[in-house]
Amino acid sequence: MLKKISEMSKQILLTIYLLLITVTFSSAQTEMADVMRSNGKIYVVVTVLATIFAGIFAYLVYLDRKIRKLEKEK
């Protein structure tokens, strides 16, 4: 009888121990893009977007100049 109780309490302790471990892992780190940051790939993301926006701005400047010419013609 005593043996059974001590076995059960060992099992319970083990279960609690395992649950605590999983809980600490799940709340410790929210997944973010740490991998991309650590291998420098985040800069690829930034470069792509910077290129897109540079292109958009270049296009706007081109349109602005074109319209300026049209306005002068009048």
Partner: protein
């Protein structure tokens, strides 16, 4: 409209948004993860739309007072650009919602309010298409634009805050505090709003200038 300084400022601010938006730290929140950075892109679309529609509202009133068709050109182009930004805002919102709220559309009060507002402004364009006479078209659409803008206030600002909502700042959600708008996010968010608005303004002024050139050609 022709000065370069605010356009250069726009370039700097949006450029900073792109760089800081991805490189600067953000709070680590569940469900949102890195998409919290969308705050710097999706939200300024709507702020820009509201400011551009406010410009259209102003010039609509101006037209009714002056009768000068140039003011109608301003009102129309501010509205056109505002509609463009509203479409981008809606699309980016749905893309964001798909992965964070689980569905592209949730019948959330703010989603519905903005969709209704967009429909109202689409109707403005259709209304203009149906009127042939310049002055009549300008007058009627100016009146409609004023009502359309007036409808924005309850649809987007008032009603969503009164009922349950998924959006932060509405339905009992803390405004932006859910994102812990900490100092790192503020550093990028405020310039982002300013930069994107200047971009919207630039696009609108280009369309206005083109409209004015056309108007002057027609007057000859």
């Amino acid at each position: 409209m022709r000065s370069w300084w605010w356009k250069i400022l726009c370039f700097i601010l949006v450029g900073f948004t792109v760089l800081g938006g991805f490189l600067m730290p953000v709070p680590r929140l569940d469900i949102l993860n890195e998409t919290i950075r969308n705050l710097y892109f999706h939200v300024p679309m709507w702020f820009t739309m509201i400011l551009l529609f406010a410009g259209a509202f102003y010039y609509s009133i101006k037209y009714l007072r002056t009768g000068n068709l140039k003011d109608d050109v301003y009102a129309l182009q501010f509205t056109n650009t505002g509609i463009f930004f509203s479409i981008i805002g809606m699309l980016t919102g749905m893309e964001w919602a798909q992965y964070t709220w689980g569905a592209a559309w949730s019948n959330d009060p703010k989603e519905l309010g903005t969709a209704l507002s967009m429909l109202i402004y689409f109707a403005y364009i259709i209304l203009r298409g149906g009127l042939k006479d310049d002055e009549k078209r300008a007058k009627i659409s100016a009146v409609y634009n004023i009502f359309a803008f007036a409808m924005l206030i309850p649809l987007i600002f008032v009603l969503p805050r009164m009922v349950d909502s998924l959006h932060p700042g509405n339905g009992g959600n803390p405004a932006f505090k859910q994102y812990d708008l900490d100092k790192y996010m503020r550093i990028v968010f405020y310039p982002a709003v300013a930069g994107w608005f200047l971009l919207g303004l630039w696009i609108a002024t280009l369309k206005i200038r083109l409209g004015l050139v056309r108007y002057r050609k027609e007057m000859e």
